[in-house]
């Protein structure tokens, strides 16, 4: 099986930082999990390293959330498989900057 093409939606500030418009697509080999998608995203766009999860601990930054298919995946295990719709390219994996600050 070849690499899977995973759609990823970024918040506006990270799209600016990565100099991209709209969704990005990253190639993931093997299991499609939050960890492998984030690894592939950071490999494709190194400028995003540290902006979504901590460089050292790899913990999600507190005001960043992960969604897919109407589900909040922010507290799900990073190595759990993502929904089939994401794996098949029907739905994007959403990285969202929390609305905070009033």
């Amino acid at each position: 099986m070849g690499d899977l093409m995973i759609r990823v939606a970024l918040p506006a500030h990270l799209r600016d930082l990565a100099s991209v418009d709209g969704e990005v697509v990253v190639e993931v080999a093997g299991s499609v999990t939050q960890r492998t998608v984030l690894d592939a995203l950071e490999a494709r766009y190194p400028v995003l390293s540290g902006t979504i999860r901590d460089h050292v601990t790899l913990k999600r930054r507190p005001f960043v959330r992960f969604f897919a298919c109407g589900q909040d995946l922010s507290h799900e295990p990073l190595d759990a498989l993502l929904p089939e719709e994401v794996v098949g390219g029907k739905e994007p994996y959403l990285i969202v900057g929390a609305m905070a600050g009033g």
Partner: protein, 372 residues
């Protein structure tokens, strides 16, 4: 003819102000990195078109940007600031141990001689260095390893290393300051550090003359006399004539000796500037009058500079990194406010005008004097 470039960091992006040597008409560009906090930008003395910027966000963390063309274009460089070894703990506000955690870069200080070497002062307080133009950053661990680190406690703005002064006459000597730990000096290029807080008195800490624990807001020096230091402490304006070995108070006739920035005239080593702020709980000028105070005697005797500054209903603050001087003749001086104004004076503070009035809250101001 010389030109001036003023780099302005704000809560919502960076701005670059440029003028010819007359400093009457200004071009304003920006915002760069719109929506992000830019705590500091600074140019390399060895290559003034090489700029570094600290871009950060509560959402997305720390980015370091570099420009090779004076701020026209930028590229993100390395943003990994990992503490050396096991970070350990410092004191939290309540006195309990708290793990060292990187939050942001407060201050970037490019080397005096090498455009690729830059020092970064960060929160939680530590000193980092790059020697490859910002791609890789390494902690200089001798500072936190000095031994007093576990006793450092954050100021209201966090445990931040906000001031880095490089001695132009001695490449091994450097001064730094941390809120609220105090000032430190290295004489061996950063391997070992000495707290230099003798003479500081800070009411409200258990031992008001402690070796560390003082809320130093800013230190300044004149490059021709690097052993003479001027300090704006939380309260008190101080000076040292022996590279920080001891300090004496020079607040003199200031209306209040609380404040954040302090700077030195480019050509007169005994002429210094502060912006008195009413108190640590109010953070605005006394009487609603924005006044820069100038001493031509290295402290103690101060005069209010008011010409062109608002003298009624003004309740802005001026933060510690938000004042800078150029080196033209006459010396230009610039400062930015929490209300988004950047004021400039082309005559050493005698008269002022607003270069811009409606930026986001200003965090830092750095002036560069450029040839041609």
């Amino acid at each position: 003819m010389s030109r001036v470039r003023v780099l302005v960091g704000t809560r919502k992006g960076a701005f670059v102000l440029e003028s010819d040597g007359k400093r009457q008409k200004w071009d304003v560009s920006g915002p760069h990195f719109g929506g992000w906090e830019v705590y500091h930008l600074k140019g390399s003395p060895a290559d003034p078109n090489r700029l570094y910027a600290s871009q950060s966000s509560g959402w997305f963390g720390q980015i370091i940007q570099r420009s090779n063309d004076g701020g026209k274009t930028w590229e993100a460089v390395g943003n990994t600031f990992a503490y050396d070894g096991v970070p350990g703990t410092h004191q939290w506000y309540d006195g309990t141990p708290h793990p060292w955690e990187f939050k942001r870069v407060w201050h970037l200080e490019p080397s005096l001689t090498d455009p690729d070497t830059v020092y970064a002062g960060v929160e939680d307080a530590a000193l980092f260095r790059t020697t490859d133009g910002g791609q890789n950053w390494s902690e200089m661990p001798g500072l936190r390893g000095h031994g007093s680190g576990p006793h450092w406690q954050p100021g209201a703005g966090g445990l931040c290393l906000h001031t880095i002064l490089l001695d132009p006459s001695n490449a091994k000597r450097m001064f730094i300051a941390i809120s609220a730990a105090g000032a430190f000096r290295t004489d061996d290029g950063g391997t070992t550090w000495l707290p230099i807080n003798r003479g500081l008195k800070s009411q409200g800490i258990p031992n008001e003359e402690a070796e560390v624990g003082h809320c130093v807001h800013r230190i300044a020096m004149h490059r021709s006399r690097p052993s003479v230091l001027f300090m704006q402490k939380h309260w008190d304006v101080m000076r040292s004539d022996n590279a920080g070995d001891s300090w004496t108070e020079v607040s003199g006739n200031l209306p209040t000796d609380f404040g954040f920035p302090i700077d030195v005239h480019a050509h007169e080593p005994e002429t210094i500037y502060v912006v008195p702020i009413k108190s640590d709980s109010e953070h605005y000028p006394p009487d609603g009058r924005l006044r820069v105070y100038r001493s031509r005697t290295g402290g103690n005797e101060w005069e209010a500079l008011t010409n062109g500054l608002p003298q009624s209903n003004c309740y802005v603050n001026v933060l510690r990194d938000a004042m800078s001087v150029d080196s033209l003749d006459k010396c230009g001086i610039y400062f930015g406010t929490s209300g988004g104004q950047v004021y400039g004076s082309a005559d050493a503070g005698d008269t002022w005008s607003a270069i811009v009035r409606d930026l986001p809250p200003v965090v830092s101001v750095e002036a560069q004097t450029l040839d041609g």
